[in-house]
C-alpha cells in the first residue's frame, strides 16, 4: 500500500492528512510548528516537527521511503520551492505542491513537481460553474409551442429508471436534467428517480401538461 507524507499542516494540509487517514493510508504529518504537529498526533499514523528546507533533517526522518509527498506549505513560497527541490533530489516518486500563484507554479513544475494545486482558483471556478449551470437550467425560453419546465418529482416516479419511464416514446418529452439537492445530473438511461428530484423537461406545452397531470 502506498505511503504518504504531508508537509505543512495548514487548512489544506490538515484536510489531506485527515482524509487519507480515513481512507486507511499511512500518513506522515510534518510541520516546523510543534503546536500544529501536536494537533495531528492523534490523527496521522506518524508525526514529526521538522524544517523541511533542511535536507539532512528530512533524511533523518526517512522521507526517502515515502511514495507520495504533498507539499502544503503556504505563504513561505521560498520554503515550498526549496522543499520541492530537496524532495526531487531525494528521488521521491510523486510530489504534489500547493501553489500560491503563477510564479510559484512555474518554478515547482520546472523542478519536477508532478501535480500542483491552487485552491482559491479551483474553488472560485467551481462556484461560478455551479451558478452558471443552475441558472441555465432555470430560465431557458424556447419558442411558442415548446417550453422548458421544472417539475417536482412525484411519488409515481420514484423507483422508475429514465429508460423505463420512456418519456420520449410516451409523451415526446425530453428529460434535460435532474436537480437533486445542489447537484445537476445529466441522467443516464438507468438513473433512478428519487423523492427529492426536480425534473427539468422540454417538450410541447400540451405534452408537458399531459405528463404533469399524470404525475399528480
Amino acid at each position: 500500500k502506498k505511503t504518504f507524507a504531508v508537509i505543512g499542516l495548514g487548512r489544506f494540509g490538515t484536510s489531506v492528512v485527515e482524509e487519507l487517514t480515513k481512507g486507511g493510508f499511512e500518513v506522515l504529518a510534518l510541520d516546523r510548528n510543534s503546536e500544529r504537529v501536536d494537533k495531528m498526533a492523534k490523527t496521522a499514523s506518524h508525526v514529526a516537527v521538522v524544517d523541511t528546507s533542511d535536507e539532512s533533517a528530512l533524511k533523518d526522518i526517512g522521507i526517502q521511503s515515502i511514495d507520495h509527498v504533498i507539499v502544503a506549505i503556504g505563504k513561505d513560497i521560498e520554503d515550498s520551492i526549496l522543499t520541492t527541490l530537496i524532495l526531487k533530489e531525494l528521488g521521491i516518486k510523486k510530489i504534489t505542491v500547493k501553489v500560491q500563484n503563477e510564479y510559484h507554479e512555474k518554478v515547482v513544475r520546472r523542478l519536477g513537481a508532478d501535480e500542483v494545486i491552487q485552491p482559491e482558483r479551483v474553488t472560485g471556478r467551481r462556484l461560478a460553474h455551479k451558478i452558471v449551470t443552475n441558472n441555465i437550467l432555470e430560465f431557458y425560453d424556447l419558442n411558442e409551442h415548446y417550453s422548458f419546465i421544472v417539475i417536482e418529482s412525484s411519488s409515481k416516479l420514484v423507483g422508475y429508471t429514465v429508460v423505463n419511464l420512456d418519456l420520449r416514446a410516451k409523451y415526446d418529452i425530453n428529460i434535460v436534467a435532474i436537480k437533486r439537492g445542489d447537484d445537476v445530473i445529466i441522467p443516464s438511461p438507468d438513473e433512478v428517480f428519487t423523492e427529492q428530484d426536480q425534473l427539468l423537461l422540454v417538450g410541447k406545452n400540451t405534452d408537458l401538461e399531459k405528463f404533469s397531470a399524470w404525475c399528480e
Copy 2:
C-alpha cells in the same frame, strides 16, 4: 437574468468574476484596491473601487439591485464579517462568503450568509479523495480464480459504448471503472470508449485473457 457582484478580487474572487462573465452573466467587480479593480476592468461588466465595510459607499454603487453577492475578502476577517452584515441589512437575496476558519464561518452563518466556502479544506479533501479512489482501483486482489486487471484501451474498442461491447454477456467480465487521464468514471451503458482510456475489469482469469487477446 440574475446579476452578480464579487467583493474582493484575490485569486478566488478573480476566478469567480472570470467564470461568471464567461457564462454570460453581468458581474460587478469590487475591491478597495484600485490596482486590482483595474485588472478586472476589461473582464467584468462593471467595476468600482470601494471599501465595502462602508455602508453608504455600498449604497452609492447600487448594490441593492444585485441578486447574488459573493464576499471574497480574505485575511481581513472583520471586513468580511462587516460587509456580510451590511449586505444582509440591505436585503441582498443571496450571499456567499469565502471563510478563513471555523470562527469566521460560524459568525457569517449567524448573520445570514446563505453559503460559505473554505477553499483549502475543500481542495484538500478532494485531492485526498482522488488519491484514495485511484489506489483502491489499483490494488484490489480477489480470489484464486478471479482477478482485477487494468488494461489499456485498444483501437478495437474506440467508438464502442459499454452496452454495445456487452462484456458481461460475451466474456462474463464486469467493467468496474474507466480511468481517463486523472478521472475515474463509473461508466453508464452509453459511455463511449476513447483511445486514452484504461479499463478496470473484473472476471475469471481465463475470461480476462480471452478478452485481452481479442483487444490486441
